[in-house]
Symmetry: C2
Subunit: 879 residues, 2 copies
């Protein structure tokens, strides 16, 4: 029979999957002899069982919980529900990976009408006892029963109003007792039954609530954004209460062993005396820096510093710890590997290697490739920054520069985003888990309240978003949608501001940004990554400018140059349209003649920039109607320009109309219909390569035929390419190597890859189209129903962002295997957007591809992800 | 080293793949000691080699041809190019399967200026010699060099005009000599070089021409229509000439051992005295029935009858033979299994079993399932037929009834077809291979000239089309597009006529047709088929009428009932639209309430008709916008009807617009978004089944969820179905078995079929969508480029008509295997249009599916094809 409940003393850090991160670390700290309040963990397997059983806790699990509770009572020497000597517990969730703010916590569980009186006597502090009771009733009602918290707050406000006071601290024991009575009445009214007095009932209901919260919408969204499978489940930690709010010799705080923002090696944290843990994290009162504790209670401070050092050495990573001081005694409530900014992650990883704590390979695994994004995105232009004057300053919670239009609610931000706005700043008094989606779509977050460990700060750092918190200098009116800066100027919804997440400065204008420099720790880690990885990293680039940027970021070639993008320029679209409108091959060839020199010079430039690195050029791919105008006035204008009537042009547009353009006349199908297009493009590539070769650069162009589904299709186009290329090579007398390959982006191509490899000298997996066709939905149309799929947990991630390894991945596996069977050394890469996604890159590594190709700004991410893949699953470097 | 050339005496009938059908049978007849003019065959492998070598005959093959020619000279005792004793040969193509009229033939090869004089002396018949020479020059110029035959005809006409005669026979030896001189001049003018005098050059050029003709557009089209792979190639038969045109003791003819139209056991054929073979086949002169030969030359007739019987016994099938009589001596030029009508095929197959010549299993293989189509399609309504008066009578060349609008060229017919017209009759003076496509799109063919073995007759029988030939009673003017009947009435392009292919009658009106009766030979063969086959045959039917029809044809259940078709009825579309326009679940449920009783009664009727056979009901599949109006006036009208403004309706239509509807919000995605639709449909199915069950019928409905790509998607919808169904079963207290399964039509479903089988109780392969998504093109859009694909030989068949076994088939194989791995006894079928295609049915059999489902009229075809599959590749019947 499975064991579903573990005392902290029975577990350790390696049991993270079973006990959750928090539970495993509490067990580990217990084992290390640190002062941890005693308790036990209900396992993640119990959670999974809960869902499998239809959201019910099985009898055997309930029995095991109570049996372990009895053991805990014995150890602690207190009894659940005993007014003389009551055991009170906290109930907290704890999944495998930390999900900050996502899960719900209940404190002071075990209180009831009798026990609260006993507690008052025992502590000789009736105010504390009744404050604890009314807090518990509210938390239980809110978290377990789903009664709106605001209704309780209102009762509190009524009492304060009646007494003519404004702060909670001004209420006395009697007020708190009254309040707990009123809270119970409210509970009865809302639920139809009295507030449960049996602590065991309270406990089981709380455990269920934690399990249920695993499926609350915030948690589901968080998991989707962070690639956490829903079948992991959460554990529940039941722990003896310790109270930071027992008076001025009590307190609570959080701290990091290194600065989570910069990575600097020094204890970094905040605390509040006479407070419970939630008060610090929620950002309601602004806490004091950890150093201040040294003055208040040097013994406790020194003990904490010692523990912190011990924990960092033990875990060999920067720790994020929670502690409580009860009547001058220190208790450790949590430790975990601390979340950190990308900059801090890099510095800590490199420092730990230099300190001899970890190896280079381990260091590579310590940085989340996705985090690098923040380092790679633009910073403010220093000149503009120098000239700009801040309108306010807050805490620099998460670095980077952000500029955007302001919105005052997560919904507004999301709406603006969906309407196509990309530069958004979310401005809030403080954030809560409900704001996650809104934060996700924003460039930066600005809050009026809260400290460096407030919700906004922690989440923004995790997301790698620029964030300024606790900016009390501005007055925010969320409801009416404006804020007033320190000079009295008003900023309305939609106005531009800029945030500097590294200084905390806020600017009342749109500031220009510049590309970041990559040096120091970044460079070191990237060097290590390059030493380790076997997967090459190329870039998707259509212009010399993009190619240049990608080279700076370490790209080793172009994996996808989309030639059609070259035709959209205003000076070219004319000739392109002429080509499309052509009714005879002759007319078409005439138009193509005009396009030839443009394409040729584009390729020359690209080859020059890429200095001998491989360049893969994809031939014309989109349906031709994409190049034609859609609006009446444009049609009129363009027809005139083209020397035909608007009616003629409309007739052509109608003729080119397709029911399903994604599944229409595009890709190599165009070249099959009009081989002269492939001929022109071959001429442009080969002549450009020869010209650049004459300048002394070695160029081996790779010509890629898109949308192939049958080897004969590829052969037909390849024959055109080879015939044209060979003729030019013969004409010019310049020897030139070149390759002809194909995209694998149609399911049939994957299935028949053995046939296709007979003709293709390389494969490039076009996972955007392959995903669309394998799933049978188009990216443009799926938006309408994907939200339903996420909320109903049918899909847990966006298959266009993260490769679907089960379905699409299986096709890639089949294709790679079949391709190699025919042509052992066939070069294979991926050029869909998945090429920049770490988990997809790991898949590419495991399946034996030679390279990934991604957008320029994703190149460093890909380099690191490729290195991590090699550390996790080493494979031989190809000869 | 491969052997590329075989003397007839070196081959036999089993070498068909190498020698082609004609060559193998000539060899076989030679072996049987029949009077066959001697010769040799250049193999199909030589043809393949010719193409691989870049359309060049390799030196070694050329050498082998000439070496074999020398042997032939020795055997025959004549010499190629020797004026004293010249060897003349015919050069004919011969592929593995006969392709009537597709390939080009050259006669009298070996003639030149010297030889023709020798021949004149030798035969003492200068007219014959020079007629042969000028024919040879013309054929060589036309077939080998591609010079327009009309230019030669014109020279002939000039001479006739000058002499004031009208028939060729009125020209004398001198005229023929003059003509051959003129022909040579024309050749020189056209080609820039003189007509080749070296017979060896003539021979090699002719062989090349035959090889090239394998790729001529007519041949390519024919192969596509008949599923013949292009890599088979054609052989070339070089054979000593015998002359049917040497005078009145000479002649030529074709005959069948049984009547190819009815199957009646009697010698059936036609001949012409003093004629060459082409004269009979081309239908220029109308030949005499074979019986007449008995009177003209009883010895030859008796000898021929004896040979015919011998051949039929030898080949154990009805033979189609060509013969020539030269100066009273009989020569066999060809034998092959004769093409026949569906009726004849059935009768012959059953008769041969009864005569003890073949087994029942062999008999099943003797009927092409596709041919049954003709038997299954409507005949004229007997009453209407009785009342109708024929306007003309021709030869009943291919049975069946056809009614349609008349067109006078293949192009016009094809245009009308492409414009959406489905009832077309092609009216021609005579047909030629260029007309194939036009014949294909027509319901029937009527010609003014030619006999039962003319091009039109042979091809129409092959296609299973109704055909009346040699209808001299009408005067056809192809150019101006009309014909005049025997009463002087004029019928213009686009007028309606009707053809009776069983009587030869032509009617000047549109006649109503009725469904055919299936009895006699048909019934016998179908009974044998049912005894043999293991694959079940179901039908795709949405209405009780279709279901009834299918049952008559032997369907064993409904494999696909498309529920959406039930919503398009004018009395239902209103409620459907109301459902689509609904903005809330409540509104939607209200509209669904209206649809429920309609669906329920539909299903009740269907269940009643199907009398306990399984019925698979697919839930709503198409995108919702398909149900909304498109034209401005319709929008106005429907908005008014729905009680909303036109603007509101337009907004809804716009909102529902999809870029790629095929890849959009449809199938189970609708049920995921609006589970209440699945709920209503489940209710309709289950309640209907219970109601009908109460009437005493056993119903086990199968609910099919479309467009599933992920098991969780299926599970979500299945949960809705099961919950609803169980509630109803509980409510009513009636026990009901039902199954929930899915379509496998998205590539991802095939790839993850092991997962999907955890939830699906059955799979139905939706090969229409699966083909679209696997190839990455939509049926609606592919028309634009598929023609190029056929003409460039990238595709050899339409993947929507015949299953692509390499790609789509591989996915089916994978899915079937994975599905069985999870659920060993999972029921699997196919319900795409491929379910009615014989080669696809064979695939389904081989891959182990349980059933195929096809349109009602295809059911008998499927039954026969399934039986053939079992005869060819026996598999165990499922328990």
């Amino acid at each position: 029979m499975a064991k579903y409940v573990y005392l902290f003393s029975e577990g350790n850090a390696s049991m993270r999957n079973l006990l959750g991160g928090k539970g495993a670390n509490l067990a580990e700290m217990t084992g290390l002899g640190l002062p941890v309040p005693r308790g036990f963990t209900v396992t993640t397997e119990a959670c999974t069982r809960f869902y499998n059983d239809g959201k019910v806790i099985a009898k055997e699990i309930e029995d095991e919980i109570f049996a372990t509770l009895s053991k805990l009572e014995e150890i602690v020497g207190k009894k659940f529900g005993d007014p003389e000597n009551p055991l009170l517990v906290s109930v907290r969730s704890g999944a495998r990976v930390s999900m900050p703010g996502m899960m719900d916590t209940i404190l002071n569980l075990g209180l009831n009408d009798e026990v609260v009186e006993g507690l008052a006597k025992l502590t000789q502090n009736p105010r504390f006892a009744y404050d604890s009771y009314r807090r518990f009733i509210m938390m239980f009602s809110d978290v377990v029963m789903g009664i709106d918290r605001m209704k309780f707050e209102k009762l509190m406000d009524e009492i304060k109003e009646k007494k003519g006071v404004s702060a909670d601290t001004e209420l006395d024991a009697g007020d708190m007792k009254t309040l707990s009575e009123r809270y119970k009445e409210l509970y009865l009214k809302e639920m139809g039954v009295p507030f449960p007095q049996d602590p065991k009932v309270q406990l089981i209901e709380a455990v269920k609530a934690v399990f249920r919260s695993w499926e609350n919408p915030r948690a589901v969204v968080y998991r989707r954004l962070n690639d956490i499978p829903s079948d992991w489940g959460t554990a529940v930690n039941v722990q003896e209460m310790v109270f930071g709010n027992m008076g001025n010799d009590s307190g609570t705080g959080v701290a990091f062993t290194r600065d989570p923002s910069t990575g600097e090696k020094k204890l970094y944290g905040e605390f509040l005396m006479n407070a419970q843990g939630e008060d610090v994290v929620a950002g309601i009162r602004t806490p004091q820096p950890i150093d201040v504790l040294k003055e208040i209670n040097p013994d406790v401070y020194n003990q904490f510093v010692e523990i912190a050092e011990k924990l960092e050495k033990h875990y060999r990573d920067m720790q994020d710890m929670e502690f409580t001081i009860e009547h001058g005694k220190l208790f450790m409530l949590q430790t975990r590997n601390g979340k950190r900014t990308a900059q801090a992650a890099l510095k800590i990883a490199v420092d730990l290697v230099n300190e001899g704590m970890i190896t280079k390979e381990e260091a590579l695994l310590r940085v989340d490739p996705k985090q690098l994004d923040t380092l790679l995105h633009p910073q403010f232009d220093p000149k503009a920054l120098k000239a700009a004057k801040p309108i306010a300053k807050g805490l620099a919670a998460s670095p980077g520069a952000a500029t955007g239009k302001i919105y005052f609610s997560a919904e507004e931000a999301a709406q603006a985003y969906n309407a196509g706005e990309k530069l958004i700043i979310l401005v809030r008094l403080e954030t809560s888990p409900e704001d996650i989606e809104g934060m996700h779509v924003s460039q930066g977050i600005l809050t009026g309240r809260g400290g460096m460990t407030s919700h906004a700060a922690v989440v923004a750092r995790g997301m790698g978003k620029c964030c300024v918190v606790g900016c009390g200098e501005i007055i925010i009116n969320e409801e009416e949608g404006y804020f007033i800066d320190k000079n009295g100027r008003r900023y309305n919804k939609g106005d531009w501001i800029s945030l500097d997440g590294s200084t905390g400065n806020v600017y009342g204008e749109k500031l220009p940004t510049v590309a970041p420099e990559m040096t120091g720790y970044f460079g070191t880690l990237m060097k290590w990554a390059d030493e380790v990885r076997v997967l090459k990293v190329r870039t998707n680039a259509d212009t010399p400018r993009d190619a240049q940027q990608a080279l700076k970021f370490g790209a080793e070639g172009i994996g996808l140059c989309r030639t059609e993008h070259m035709f959209f320029d205003s000076d070219r679209i004319g000739a392109m349209r002429e080509m499309i409108v052509a009714r005879t091959e002759e007319q078409r060839r005439k138009a193509l003649e005009k396009l030839l020199p443009m394409q040729r010079s584009d390729f020359e430039e690209l080859f020059r920039v890429m200095k001998g690195y491989p360049v893969t050029i994809r031939f014309l791919d989109p349906p031709l109607h994409e190049f034609l105008p859609k609006e009446e006035e444009d049609i009129q204008a363009i027809a005139a320009e083209m020397g035909i009537t608007a009616e003629e042009l409309k007739a052509i547009i109608t003729e080119l109309h397709e029911f399903n353009p994604m599944l229409g006349h595009r890709g190599c199908r165009l070249a099959v219909s009009y081989p002269e297009i492939a001929e022109m493009q071959t001429r442009a590539v080969i002549e450009a390569a020869i010209n650049v070769k004459k300048e002394g650069l070695n160029v081996v162009p790779e010509i890629m035929i898109p949308l192939v589904g049958d080897v004969k299709e590829l052969k037909y186009v390849k024959d055109v390419v080879v015939k044209t290329a060979e003729a030019i090579i013969k004409e010019t007398g310049v020897e030139l190597e070149y390759r002809v390959g194909t995209m694998i982006e149609v399911p049939r191509a994957a299935i028949t890859a053995d046939e296709i490899a007979k003709e293709a000298e390389f494969f490039s997996f076009g996972t955007n189209d392959l995903t669309q066709m394998t799933f049978g939905f188009s990216r443009d149309d799926a938006g309408k129903f994907l939200e339903e799929y996420y909320s109903k947990k049918i899909y847990e991630f966006d298959p266009f962002a993260k490769l679907d390894q089960t379905g699409v991945g299986e096709l890639i596996r089949i294709a790679a295997e079949k391709g190699r069977k025919t042509r052992a050394n066939i070069k294979m890469g991926i050029c869909g957007e998945h090429g920049g996604d770490p988990s997809s890159i790991e898949f590419c590594h495991n399946v034996g591809l030679d390279y990934v190709s991604c957008s320029p700004y994703r190149v460093p991410i890909a380099r690191l992800a490729a290195a991590q893949a090699q550390v996790r699953n080493p494979r031989n470097k190809k000869a």
